[in-house]
Subunit: 458 residues, 2 copies
């Protein structure tokens, strides 16, 4: 079998691959600090050169911020899928420097040679190079790639990707592909791969309730004058029913139950709800009754108040009956929930509870849908088999509680679904001192991508 040769090639090239990664890690491409702008461009150029060496038509594309790396390579076979691989070459600042045991930009192996230690080793240089090394092995072994491949590496992910939307809009044609591949997520644990198939969406709404025309003395007016904090608290309390479900009419439209095989997989994961909550000082699961904590985070929608403010909040007391109270709400969405419908239902819900002599102002801070790779997707089935073959374990089909804006952007602007396969671990200390990436993640990650590309080509 060809793929075995490709995998063997990856194993043989391991030392050289690590050295290449070290070269990239040595470039301090900190995107948030203008002092490192040249280093960002240098990291981009390093990648362009690297990809050119692999036969890619690669170039550095300027943006208003740090440049993009864009590269294309076509397979000799026609009728193969076209994948778009996304990664980012920028890294978080290394501060606080004094907490690093070694220079963050002098990459090295741990004494036991099991870990690559440097800023960006896991987030995201090590991860993205797993894909590049997989491509290299195909080139070296068979002078061809199994799929048409477009690569996009950006240099601003750690600062919120400010140049990406305009770049996507300007290069729609060139970025069009059948499937997006992303290597910026974690495995379930060191031995168990994971495919993230669900990212929760996010609706952000702020509400300002205005009652009296000015702050009142609570002695003079307390009783007959409406207190907007009470009005707001009633709305917040009404937002969940006694079973912990969100009470907005129609809120659960588009929310599906998990397929039984996925539900069974999650039940059998070695996940301790006690430890998860205990790590932040909690012990009683909140939210929907009869749902596991993993379900709640990965596949169930929520409503949370992220901030509330009204009246006097300094030291001591003030007998004020405030004119105004405000709260910031966030809704995490899943499945096919429609963000616009959630916003409309929320606003109706608030207005229905507003006394007729009060006013309400709504501020929208964003609304994006959940991103779900259908469990029935053929690409997902192939990736699952490929990862199983590599790790000898069924990959966990996980969700992610938070949103990943880039994936949403590609879905919205280019209509491309994403297959998110990453080899990070929870203890990689990304964004923190002494960031590391497991050698097994790096090597078996490259082997995993080789298998996935092979499987996708069919």
């Amino acid at each position: 079998m060809t793929i075995d040769n490709v995998l063997a090639r990856i194993d043989q090239n391991r030392e050289a691959a690590v050295q290449r990664l070290f070269d990239l890690l040595a470039i301090p491409s900190v995107s948030t600090d203008p002092a490192f702008a040249k280093d960002c461009a240098r990291a981009g150029q390093w990648l362009v050169d690297e990809l050119k060496g692999l036969g890619f038509d690669a170039s550095l594309r300027p943006t208003a911020g740090h440049p993009m790396v864009m590269a294309h390579a076509k397979a000799k076979r026609r009728d193969v899928p076209h994948v778009l691989f996304y990664g980012h070459y920028d890294v978080q600042p290394a501060d606080p420097l004094e907490l690093w045991e070694t220079d963050p930009f002098k990459p090295h192996l741990s004494d036991d040679k099991q870990r690559i230690i440097a800023r960006g080793s896991a987030d995201d240089k090590g991860q993205m190079m797993t894909f590049v090394e997989a491509c290299r092995a195909f080139r070296d072994e068979q002078g061809d790639l199994p799929c048409d491949v477009t690569i996009l590496f950006e240099g601003e992910e750690e600062t919120g990707s400010p140049s990406l939307p305009a770049f996507l809009a300007a290069n729609k044609q060139e970025l069009t592909a059948d499937l997006m591949l992303v290597c910026d997520t974690n495995m379930w644990n060191k031995d168990t791969p994971a495919i993230t198939t669900m990212l929760r969406g996010l609706v952000l709404e702020e509400v300002v309730i205005q009652a009296a025309s000015r702050d009142l003395h609570s002695g003079m007016f307390g009783g007959p004058a409406t207190n907007p904090i009470h009005v707001l608290s009633r709305m917040i309390a009404d937002m969940h029913d006694a079973r912990g479900c969100v009470s907005l009419p129609g809120f659960y439209e588009g929310v599906s139950e998990l397929p039984e095989d996925i539900a069974a997989q999650w039940r059998e994961l070695d996940f301790s709800e006690k430890d998860f909550l205990g790590s932040v000082g909690l012990s009683v699961p909140a939210g929907e009754q009869d749902r596991s904590v993993l379900e709640k985070i990965w596949s169930r929608p929520t409503c949370d108040v992220n901030g509330i403010l009204g009246g006097y909040t300094g030291k001591g007391s003030k007998t004020v009956l405030p004119a105004q109270a405000s709260a910031k709400f966030s809704f995490r969405l899943v499945g096919q929930q429609d963000p616009d419908k959630v916003v409309a239902s929320f606003r109706d819900f608030v207005k229905a509870r507003l006394p007729s002599d009060c006013r309400v102002e709504f501020l929208s801070h964003g609304a994006s849908p959940a991103l779900t790779l259908p469990f029935s997707s053929e690409a997902l089935a192939r990736a699952r088999r490929a990862l199983h073959a590599e790790w000898n374990k069924e990959p966990v089909l996980s969700g992610s509680g938070g949103s990943i804006p880039i994936v949403g952007l590609f879905k919205k602007d280019l209509g491309i679904d994403a297959l998110m396969i990453g080899f990070g671990l929870d203890d990689d200390r990304i964004h923190s001192p002494n960031e590391k990436y497991e050698m097994s993640s790096f090597t078996k990650g490259a082997r995993s991508w080789a298998r996935v590309l092979d499987a996708l080509a069919g």
Copy 2:
């Protein structure tokens, strides 16, 4: 009748009385500004001299702040009641000066001679001098007072009476009396006197709810992690039932219904709920259903949140699930409600709604009972008849939504009930530019006190 001669004497002395008040008003005894400390002492000394001239044993008593004026005069008759009259000689700052049409400390009459214009004319120099002028008329006319009289004028009322508690404690014996008289409140309107018989008490409680040990990411933890803003909002919402009543168990213990004659009097007052609420931009009465606005403010207890804070409250959004949320509650108490019981019931109520993995911290910012002069009080009956005789109208037995800490202090420390009769009007602009006191308030106020003293003596 002797009292007619006394009243005639007041009328004859009117011009001299106004001139004396002008002398006092010309002293800028602004208590909050150290630049006026000497003026405060000067105003106190002026009053000592004045009272000595009326045969009082008067002296200026130093405190840590501005001095107290203390004066005693015994009636020749024995078996007469001993009254303690309280007033304050300090005034609010005159700022903003540019909004005064005339110099705030150059007292003068309006062109039609109907109003005395100066800082302190209504609050409280004009009001307290009505009592002094009543005493003078008795002295001048009959060389005696109808009651034993102790007078206490303080110079720090406008700054919260910081020296008063220690002064009361140190001079308990000397301040003991049968009844306290206070002239620092308003009439119902220009033609209708009022006796304030109910001051609402005040319980101030702050609650801090702690959930997780640190702020959490609402994507990572939203759903299974308890949101303390939700917990707090539920508590606040539960604090009132659907009829607008406070839900704390036992809260209404000690709250009595108004006697029917008082209720009837209030119903017939020319009070517009629409105008009252409309003045602050509201139109729908909140609070207990089936209670009038006047009842709600004067004779019903309340629960209000005066401040709430939790999570992110800056501009835009932050997907934080806060560790902590807090709120400041105030309870206005009436009748015989026990502040300690209210505090206990409130804390039990909060604890009963606290998830078992959350913690709560309570901060007390004070707890004082309502002050009620019983409707059955003989002194009240006499004062009502006296005021009726002067104004030819039944005095309104009003409540006051706010507390008057001084009255509470005397009740608590000396056990003395207070008869609060004042001649201020809502449009006197106390604490504001162009403060005034009606000439009719001043003259008929003095006549009213003469009648009240005479009536109390029986």
